[in-house]
Symmetry: C2
Subunit: 352 residues, 2 copies
């Protein structure tokens, strides 16, 4: 049995769900892969808990479900440390960085935690877009320099393996065009508007369904889609895109009559993020609401679906779509990334 001692920073929706997934999957991971994942440290915005002998996942999940801080974890809880202190001092080989996106505040504390972990020779798995948008190249090079893995499949399009597919299955190809509808909530809201709900009602419904963040402008103004496109461009297209070069139009100025008229013609509006290859090999990046025809590979996306299309020179046109009825697939991307590090590398073998 290979034991992997890991830290979990960020115990919001994704971090807490990950604890629940791990509780349910512990036996399967041991049996199928010979892998025992041991949580030794965890952090939220109010403090940390650290115990080299291991924290109980059920107790972590219970504390957070009750709205409490991890710093109140029995004995191991620590109100004086913060996440970066934990990452700098704990004995572990893997960091899961799942703190909320704070692009406006310099992608912290995620960026510092990831830098520190990579420099200490730890593998890093993160579904947090902020640090990758802010410092893709630096983090990529830091991981290579220290001979460790940096995996971030969960940063784009929820549980869809868009990064993996692009990085691993399109090798040797030239991607002529990348199109993605990576943001769930904008499609959800536009579908409700089409059904006759008002803007206020639609946003309220999205909030109640848990798909709209407190800061609605992040989704509605296309920042989320632009951040995801920036990461895809860097990671899949090999193009060093910056967030501020994405031509970005959100959905808030949309005319509802036009939405409804498009639907009647069989078209479906989605917030489409696109990268179009220029003759010099760079890419033109844009995010805008677009009426997708029924013939478009993403023209039938439902309210709970996101997707990506790669138009390539030698692998045809490849589309991938995910239907997510809850946040479990997004949280499970961390498990996918962990297994890629330990099983994909050949270190652990699959027992079947």
């Amino acid at each position: 049995m290979r034991e992997v001692r890991f830290l979990l920073v960020g115990l919001g929706n994704l971090g807490r769900r990950f604890c629940e997934i791990l509780l349910a999957k512990d036996d399967l991971l041991r049996e199928r892969y010979g892998l025992a994942l041991r949580l030794v440290g965890a952090a939220d915005s109010r403090g940390v808990a650290y115990d080299p002998a291991g924290l109980a996942l059920a107790e972590v999940a219970r504390l957070k479900a009750a709205g409490d801080t991890i710093a109140n974890y029995p004995i191991a809880g620590n109100h004086a440390w913060d996440a970066p202190t934990l990452v700098a001092n704990a004995d572990a080989e893997l960091l899961l960085e799942a703190s909320p996106v704070h692009l406006q505040q310099g992608a912290e504390p995620g960026l510092t935690c990831i830098r520190t972990a990579l420099r200490r020779g730890m593998h890093v798995v993160t579904p947090n877009k902020g640090p990758l948008v802010a410092a893709y190249r630096e983090l990529h090079d830091l991981a290579a320099e220290h001979g460790v893995c940096l995996r971030f499949d969960g940063t784009v399009a929820g549980g869809l393996p868009a990064i993996n597919l692009g990085q691993r299955d399109l090798r040797g190809a030239v991607v002529e065009r990348l199109e993605t509808v990576p943001n769930l909530v904008t499609g959800y809201v536009m579908d409700l508007l089409t059904e006759g709900l008002s803007w206020d009602e639609s946003l309220e419904r999205a909030r109640a369904a848990g798909v709209l963040e407190a800061d609605a402008s992040w989704d509605l103004e296309g920042w989320d889609a632009a951040a995801k496109l920036t990461i895809l461009a860097n990671a899949v297209l090999g193009y060093p895109a910056r967030l501020d070069e994405v031509a970005r139009t959100g959905i808030t100025a949309l005319d509802v009559d036009e939405l409804c008229a498009a639907r009647e013609r069989g078209y479906r509006y989605r917030l489409l993020a696109q990268a179009e290859r220029r003759p010099d090999g760079s890419y033109a990046l844009s995010v805008a609401p677009v009426p997708l025809s029924p013939d478009h590979p993403l023209g039938h996306l439902g309210s709970k679906q996101v997707g990506v299309v790669f138009t390539t020179d030698i692998y045809g046109t490849i589309t991938a779509i995910i239907e997510e009825r809850d946040p479990i697939p997004s949280a499970a991307t961390m498990l996918r990334d962990i297994l890629d590090i330990y099983v994909g590398s050949g270190e652990l073998k699959v027992t079947s």
Copy 2:
């Protein structure tokens, strides 16, 4: 520059196209991955050519385009050797086995070539279903025993990375249901029938388009789809399926009136291969023509598209679809597999 000396067995549609792809991609592979692929031996059904110093891809492609045998390759051509003799004696580290599927004749010569190559410590890449259907477990174990890779992403659904997606991106999950429309020609023919063409006209059109094999029953009676499902079950579901346990119904007994009536209701007939998980963890396997509703993830497949759907416990429902307008993507799967072996393993790094 890392030079990889390889053999290519089978110079039909896929093998010849692969030579053309490699000619076009040689510079990119050297620049992006530091990889130089050198063809040292090739075989067709009439003989071989072998030159340790390398064969010229353009000359191989020219001979085959002219309907000639590789045995007439200048100086290196050899009418006395066959493919297994080449694989048993050539100095190379990689075998591409792209000979035609001959399930009825025991999957030869592919099976012998693959066995021999693995035993000699060569990596093997193959889009040939026959050997994998006939001896999945044996070949898998043989590769593991000799510490080499056996890759076969091209055996299922043309250029769609269905095997890769299932093996690498669903780790840790339970696949409740796998649905795939892996065969292009049956959908193509059913669409033509719906448009009012007769069976004879539809088959003639499919033959002219190069999508129907000489032995039409392989596709039309569902053998091709059943073979692909068998490989997916073994490779992705970890279920040791046999071809003869697939409940198989082809499309030849279909009522054209029913096809047309379904289309008018917005349904689209496709030859659907399914694996449904039983409570004991085994899978029920079937292939049959099914009217897919517009809400089905594969309900809008065009005549040039194939696809796969994985319904999982923790990664939601993931659909992947490819549009192939020519056989290039199917041939390019061999390049994808080669790059997975040398770049995916970390042996070669991506320069960007």
